[in-house]
């Protein structure tokens, strides 16, 4: 007998049933989940694109023409572009400087390094903007009052005015900085410091090194930062809707919401056409970023953990620290203090005495005012349910896609992640088309918001889940299969426990995002189905400042607890085994 020459199966061979690789129940469930969420992203978007050209089953190109007939359209577009681009430049300069300070110099402030990108989640822009209005409103703004007292001015208003160009640009910049900071500091962290050291040894001075080595190397990060600022800037709604009330500056996002919700009947077609403008702007930024990535031979070198030789700033160290601490003060501390003061005194007033402090506003918001409490409960339910569904689905999908590296899998993956690069307004409008009418009839309901939140935030959930899934080495999964475990058991016993810290952190972020969401809510939330973001905007427009401030603080506290949980979990890990990395 030789082992080489017999091609037919040996006579003793038996076959225990036919096992072609039919998908196991677990695989079936996960592929269905992936397909479902891909459709949830694609279907509404396709409805938006179709609506551009087709109305009631007929080809109708009039919206494209009508949109140019709107009053003040060009002025609005120019104003939007100016606000976004000027604040974008400021945000990139300041954010990069802050990133450099905390990654490469002795001005760095330990924990603050990781806190800065989280700040907008702690105090959502809608709450922060209202805080700044309380501080810098020309009449009763606390800062203006203080300045007038000090200078002995008799004027009733000024000298500062938040309802102005610089007010817009300052707040836009404030909320863009975390994005630029996050990307550039990640770029710096991945840049091998030896490249910079080598430049110094070659005789390049500190500035030349920065200009010739450091900046070129983080160019991809800067490209990403530009993309994000454009995406975020065009879609930012909370700042302009608040500031726009008392200035004649109008931006794209506010116009879109106005067309959809403040006019009757809703000018849907025009809103869709305008949202395409938004899409084009983001597409352009995307294209530019692609050019940046393609053009250079970038150093994606080095791993983590190299200890950087930090730059000693000497006397400038404290100036550097002032910049970092100053940002935290401006973005969170000052507006929060203004909100606290209004909430606790019950009025937006210059008079202040400790004796007047009371918790009436909080009691009002949490217990007495049924509508407000309803909005809070609604948001908490949406956040809790949405974050849970989102992160579990993202985990299942991520594991499924890691295993099947087919073209189909990649299409699913990109579809699910598509909403990350599309302005939230466009997605929300798509949701409106897709689910408000027949056969779903979900208009103004809890469920349409839940679906919208899931579509909007699943990209972020997927990023978190992908990172967590990457920690589960292929060997660990294969070893489980060879031990006789099917897909479901492997998911439960191997994937989930190892991914858990990452998933919990992802859950908390999703929860916070959904809790303070305003863009989609402004379009999709009905009067019967209020959410916190919508409620805050509404209260501001009606001038009920104390309950508004109280609600903003409650929102901030819930968010801060969730964010703190994220930081603790992602910093500490869980017990001894997280340190373990299987050998290569």
């Amino acid at each position: 007998m030789t082992s080489i020459d017999t091609a037919a199966p040996s006579p003793v061979a038996t076959t225990r049933g036919v096992w072609s690789r039919l998908p196991s129940p677990f695989q079936a469930v996960s592929s269905l989940t992936a397909v479902g969420f891909a459709l949830l992203a694609l279907y509404p978007l396709s409805r938006v694109l179709i609506r551009l050209f087709v109305d009631d089953g007929e080809v109708d190109l009039s919206p494209m023409a009508d949109v140019w007939q709107q009053p003040g359209l060009v002025r609005m577009l120019v104003q939007t572009t100016v606000v976004v681009s000027v604040s974008g430049v400021f945000a990139i300069v300041v954010g990069s400087a802050m990133a450099w300070l905390s990654e490469r110099t002795d001005a760095r402030l330990g924990a603050l390094t990781d806190v800065i990108p989280m700040l907008p989640f702690v105090l959502p822009p809608i709450a922060g903007t209202i805080g700044w209005v309380l501080l810098l409103s020309p009449g009763a703004g606390f800062v203006n009052v203080v300045i007038r007292d000090i200078t002995g001015s008799d004027a009733a208003t000024g000298p500062l005015d938040i309802y102005s160009w610089w007010g817009f640009i300052a707040l836009y910049t404030l909320y863009m900085i975390p994005f630029t900071y996050l990307l550039v500091s990640a770029g710096l962290r991945n840049l091998d410091p030896q490249l910079e050291e080598q430049s110094r040894l070659c005789g390049g001075g500190r500035l030349r090194t920065l200009w010739r080595v450091t900046i070129p190397a983080v160019k991809p990060s800067l490209g990403g930062a530009i993309l994000l600022t454009v995406w975020f800037g065009f879609a930012l709604f909370s700042v302009p809707v608040i500031l726009g009330t008392q200035s004649d500056i109008e931006v794209l996002s506010v116009r879109i919401v106005r067309l959809l919700t403040f006019t009757y009947p809703a000018q849907t077609a025009e809103a869709v056409a305008l949202s395409v403008v938004m899409l084009v702007a983001v597409g352009l930024a995307w294209y530019l970023q692609g050019r940046v990535l393609k053009s250079g031979h970038h150093a994606s070198v080095g791993g983590r953990g190299q200890r950087t030789n930090i730059v000693r700033l000497g006397r400038w160290k404290w100036a550097g620290r002032l910049v970092l601490v100053g940002y935290v003060l401006l973005a969170v501390a000052l507006p929060l203090l203004a909100l606290l003061r209004v909430a606790l005194t019950g009025f937006w007033t210059q008079d202040f005495s400790f004796g007047d402090l009371n918790l009436d506003a909080f009691r009002n918001v949490l217990f007495d005012d049924i509508a407000t409490r309803g909005a809070l409960v609604n948001s908490l339910r949406l956040g809790g349910l949405g974050a849970t569904i989102g992160i579990v689905a993202a985990a299942v999908i991520s594991i499924f896609l890691r295993r099947s590296r087919s073209v189909f899998g990649r299409v699913l993956d990109s579809s699910i992640k598509l909403p990350a690069v599309i302005p939230h307004f466009v997605v929300a409008i798509g949701m409106l088309f897709a689910f408000s009418g027949s056969p779903f009839h979900l208009a103004g309901s809890f469920w349409i918001l839940l679906l919208a939140y899931l579509a909007l935030f699943l990209p972020q959930a997927s990023v978190a889940a992908d990172a967590a899934a990457a920690q589960v080495g292929r060997d660990l999964v294969e070893a489980s299969s060879l031990s006789g475990a099917g897909g479901g058991r492997t998911f439960r016993r191997i994937h989930l426990p190892i991914m858990l810290p990452g998933l919990v952190a992802g859950w908390a972020l999703l929860f916070v995002w959904m809790l303070g969401e305003l863009n989609a809510s402004a379009i999709l939330a009905g009067t019967q189905n209020r959410v916190v973001g919508f409620e805050l905007m509404d209260k501001f427009l009606h001038g009920t400042y104390a309950p508004l401030a109280a609600l903003a603080i409650v929102l901030t506290m819930v968010s801060a607890i969730a964010v703190a949980a994220v930081m603790i979990i992602s910093r500490k890990g869980r017990g001894s085994w997280t340190e373990y990395r299987p050998a290569a």
């Binding site: 082992s3 091609a7 199966p9 061979a13 690789r21 294969e478 006789g484 191997i494 001894s576 299987p582």
Partner: protein, 405 residues
């Protein structure tokens, strides 16, 4: 030529011969694993395909220890993973314990969890969130073994691999050698008749590796499971294997007991990969039928050698190889064929033997002698090789003429 027929292992270490003979001499034992004409290719980024496993057929008897040996990229790991069900071959069949687990005919592809094999990974693949005991009882849990029995069997598996006290520890708290033992216990606990090993010892240091190798060997012989073991370390292969399959570019270059592979390599590739060898070129001039020896004209003059391959014919180009320890050295010219005057480049005492580096004309030679004579640098000595120890092999393309392995 009997020396070439190494499909009939005469080595008494072979369990196939032993068990079959005692059980029922007429019946062919059901092989633990049987791979036939297996092909697996990978697509490169440019669209071309590479055959990682190229028409491989191999059979492992119950209780046999088979080592797949070869350099990285020779397809040995892909073959192992195909047996486990972790890769999907393009064609060919795989049977495990007589059951077809992969065959394009009838599109059979049994998933890994139903193949009744276990595997030890190079990384050990211990689940970091489980204790050693939980890791080891996992296969039993999957097999629905009742809880008390599970614990008992997992504990005795840990005791068997010599770490009964570490059951409560997490992998992160263990040394590499201890992790290796846990992985071994996990692979053996469910008493599979086939266990696969993917370079399991390459991540532990030399001393531990030797110890573990020894224990693995005695455990395998005692428990009697069949093993397929992938390694690139020829010492490891020699020590563990009943049979070695030397792999080359996706194919099996030669398969046989370690001694046959070492003494009777059928190609220069095998001779060079297993152990150290001296090499020079020649042309076959004739065949001495009475002594079954070839005569050749070589770079070193006329030589007599044994044919190492049926491809050798009079007139064909040949590569001549001999092992360093089969050469003898003498200061006086010896009698007989295959003797050359050489210049001593260096003599080094390395413990178990003394290594001599020599030049015969322009050919480098390496000779190992246990007698520890030291020759002066630059002095001349005589090398001689018995014709039985000089093997004549087909000349391969791009033969590395260095002789170093």
């Amino acid at each position: 030529m009997t020396v070439l027929d190494d499909d009939h292992p005469t080595d008494d270490r072979s369990p196939a011969a032993g068990t079959a003979a005692t059980a029922d001499p007429s019946a062919t034992p059901v092989p633990a694993v049987r791979v036939q004409n297996l092909v697996k290719h990978f697509r490169r980024d440019d669209g071309s395909t590479v055959n990682a496993v190229d028409d491989v057929s191999i059979e492992v008897a119950p209780g046999e220890f088979m080592v797949l040996l070869g350099p990285s990229g020779c397809g040995k790991t892909t073959l192992l993973r195909s047996i486990a069900g972790l890769e999907q071959p393009a064609s060919g069949t795989i049977e495990i314990g007589g059951e077809v687990v992969f065959s394009p005919v009838g599109s059979i592809d049994v998933p890994p969890e139903r193949r009744n094999v276990n595997m030890i990974f190079q990384s050990y693949a211990l689940w970091p969130h489980m204790t050693a005991l939980q890791n080891v009882s996992y296969p039993l849990e999957c097999a629905h073994v009742p809880k008390p029995e599970r614990r008992e069997r997992a504990e005795s598996a840990l005791a068997m691999v010599g770490i009964p006290e570490l059951g409560g520890q997490h992998p992160g708290q263990m040394s590499g050698g201890q992790q290796q033992r846990v992985a071994l216990a996990r692979a053996l606990v469910s008493n599979e008749r086939l266990v696969l090993f993917d370079e399991p010892l390459s991540n532990v240091d030399a001393k531990v590796r030797e110890q573990l190798r020894f224990e693995l060997l005695s455990m395998q012989r005692e428990l009697g499971f069949a093993a397929v073991y992938v390694t690139h370390d020829q010492i490891e292969a020699m020590e563990l294997a009943h049979r070695i399959a030397v792999m080359q570019e996706g194919r099996v270059a030669q398969i046989g007991p370690p001694r046959t592979i070492y003494d009777e390599p059928r190609s220069y590739y095998v001779a060079n990969f297993i152990g150290t060898t001296n090499v020079f070129a020649g042309v076959v001039t004739g065949h001495d039928d009475s002594r079954d020896l070839l005569t050749l004209d070589s770079d070193l003059g006329p030589v007599e050698a044994v044919a190492g391959s049926s491809e050798i014919r009079p007139g064909s180009d040949a590569t001549l190889v001999c092992r360093p320890e089969r050469c003898t050295l003498s200061t006086q010219e010896p009698e007989g064929p295959n003797r050359w005057s050489a210049e001593v480049v260096a003599s080094r005492f390395v413990g178990s033997h003394t290594e001599h580096a020599l030049m015969v004309g322009t050919s480098r030679f390496r000779v190992w002698r246990a007698d520890h004579d030291i020759y002066e640098e630059g002095s001349s000595v005589w090398i001689s090789v018995p014709p039985r120890d000089l093997r004549c092999l087909p000349t391969e393309q791009d033969v590395d003429n260095d002789g170093d392995s």
